[in-house]
């Protein structure tokens, strides 16, 4: 322990992974609960408009309407209720899009890194081409093609972000493929697919898990950006991105319409990323 990191004892001071892991997991759990029980938790109907209650400030300010804790937007919809219902869309996108992206990207990366040859050449070229697209513009373009809706967003995220997994997994699979244990498995006459799935894949799982956590945070942001550009789900549905877009236009009259979804989004993205970093510190020797 004493000479853990060579002579420079100053680098021995370690960041503690504990608190940020627990804080991130805690916030995401609250979100999950809110999303699951949204109809029962939310004090109001997120779509109910009441023009007499437009732009009511949050509870601690003068002129606040009782029962509307975080105020209302310009159409008199309850901000808190919309936030809670918005968590459903955000988490659905995070989980579904993140998982599918992970499966597609990791599979392609694994094939390219392990099989090499023309498979690798084709996939690497595809990655290069994909990297040359500005991702935000690409996603907006895809939504324009696919039309708005939850399914379109998920498809857009998968189509754009598979390269994140493919790049890392490919490089890792190549590194693992050069190791002795793979050669000995080959000498033993094991089939290539078997080596890939039984020998190489288990060693990549920690890396893939960390990437998956990071990707979920990215998916939430992509959804928000697309809602912001007004190409996401139909505008009536409460999403954090559309709340932000609305808040941005009314920023000087009713700042709370922007602030609360922004804080929620900020914490969620930060939590996914810190969860990933925390897991990385704990389990993964590769990405450190």
């Amino acid at each position: 322990m004493a000479d853990a990191k060579g002579m420079d004892g100053r680098s021995m001071i370690r960041r503690r992974a504990g608190p940020r892991l627990w804080l991130s997991a805690g916030w995401l759990s609250i979100l999950c609960l809110a999303a699951l029980f949204a109809p029962w938790v939310a004090p109001h109907d997120p779509l109910a408009q009441d023009l007499f209650l437009g732009r009511m400030p949050p509870f601690w300010m003068a002129g606040a309407e009782p029962g509307y804790w975080l105020g209302t937007d310009s159409l008199g919809r309850d901000v808190l209720s919309r936030l809670i219902h918005g968590a459903r869309v955000a988490l659905a996108v995070a989980l579904i899009a993140g998982t599918i992206t992970c499966l597609v990207g990791a599979t392609l990366g694994l094939l390219a890194g392990f099989l090499r040859g023309w498979v690798d050449i084709v996939i690497s070229r595809l990655i290069d081409i994909w990297m040359a697209f500005p991702p935000v513009l690409f996603s907006i373009l895809l939504i324009a093609v696919l039309g708005p809706g939850l399914v379109s967003i998920i498809i857009a995220i998968v189509v754009i972000d598979w390269t994140r997994f493919a790049r890392v997994v490919r490089a890792e699979a190549m590194a693992q493929g050069a190791m002795d244990y793979v050669s000995s498995a080959q000498v033993a006459g094991r089939p290539r697919i078997g080596i890939m799935l039984r020998e190489i894949l288990p060693n990549l799982l920690p890396t893939i898990g960390v990437l998956l956590t990071l990707e979920m945070g990215i998916a939430v942001i992509v959804e928000a950006i697309l809602s912001f550009v007004n190409l996401s789900i139909s505008t009536d549905d409460p999403t954090w991105g559309s709340m932000i877009a609305e808040g941005r236009t009314a920023i000087h009259q009713a700042w709370w319409v922007l602030v609360f979804p922004l804080i929620t989004l900020f914490l969620t993205v930060l939590s996914f990323s810190q969860l990933g970093e925390g897991l990385k510190d704990r389990f993964d020797p590769v990405l450190r």
Binding site: D3, M7, G9
Partner: protein
């Protein structure tokens, strides 16, 4: 009257075991003292403590380092740095890593003169040229303009020696200055250090694990084991009759150049056990004092 006087210096790993155990030694003006011991005995640590470059993981727990009568450890950090920069110098172990790869040679010799001692650039440059001639490097002008990677290890060690003598320091610490070099170059560098030391009259602390080198360069030596000075003697006396059992065994273990077939005589286990017992007794005594 000695120029460097170390009194009961104790150093330990922060929150860990002691690395130096009440080390005392003196180096007079123009005198050469060898520090000998196995790796980990703490010989380099003494040089680092004198020059104020102990690693951050290590702390001084007691004692004095008197340089020209002033206790360095009692000075504020900035004054200590200035004083060391003006009066001391280091000849490092590995010439390949001790020169900054992105600077030319000239500023690496002259920067102390210009930036710390306030010489003019022209004067410092002339001085650097003289020094390079003094260390027998051909074509000093070209060398001054070169980058380190264009020069061989032996040339770089000569440059580091020149740089160490640049400000006419009173004391130089040479930290195993030949260990990283080819055997053929080692002898030349050793000869050069002795020649330069004699000409400039500099006090020299010579850290080495090689008793053969000590016999050629030094007048006094300190033998260290586990951060403790087990023997402090004049070189002539030591090689005639070492007093401590451990240093005697160390001397016996040194291969003889005259008789290469004699084989190695490792330090006997009994001697190691005895010297370890001494260290343990020291620590126990200290613990008693601490408790009392």
């Amino acid at each position: 009257m000695s120029y460097l006087s170390i009194r009961n210096l104790s150093v330990r790993l922060k929150g860990g075991p002691p690395l130096l155990r009440r080390v005392s030694l003196d180096v007079g003006p123009g005198e050469v003292r060898g520090l000998v011991g196995e790796s980990g005995a703490g010989k380099s640590m003494i040089g680092k403590a004198v020059l104020g470059i102990l690693p951050p993981s290590v702390e001084v727990t007691g004692g004095e380092i008197l340089l020209g009568g002033t206790d360095l450890l009692g000075l504020p950090p900035k004054d200590r740095r200035r004083r060391i920069g003006a009066t001391c110098a280091l000849i490092p172990q590995d010439p390949l890593t001790a020169l900054n790869p992105s600077h030319r040679i000239e500023p690496q010799i002259t920067d102390r003169l210009v930036n710390i001692l306030g010489w003019t650039r022209a004067a410092a440059r002339a001085r650097a040229r003289d020094l390079l001639e003094e260390v027998h490097l051909p074509d000093p002008e070209r060398v001054l303009r070169a980058y380190p990677h264009e020069l061989s290890g032996g040339m770089r060690q000569r440059i580091l020696i020149a740089s160490a003598f640049a400000a006419e320091p009173k004391l130089i610490v040479a930290d195993e200055p030949t260990t990283a070099l080819d055997v053929t170059v080692q002898k030349q560098i050793l000869k050069l250090i002795r020649e330069m030391q004699a000409r400039h009259g500099t006090a020299l602390v010579f850290v080495t694990h090689d008793l053969g080198v000590v016999s050629k360069v030094c007048q006094h030596l300190s033998v260290l084991y586990a951060g403790m000075v087990v023997e402090d003697a004049r070189v002539a006396d030591f090689f005639a009759a070492p007093r401590h059992a451990y240093s005697a065994a160390l001397l016996a273990a040194t291969p003889k150049y005259t008789d290469p077939d004699a084989g190695l005589n490792p330090v006997p286990d009994a001697v190691i056990d005895a010297v370890r017992a001494e260290v343990a007794a020291f620590d126990a005594a200290k613990a008693r004092r601490g408790a009392a």
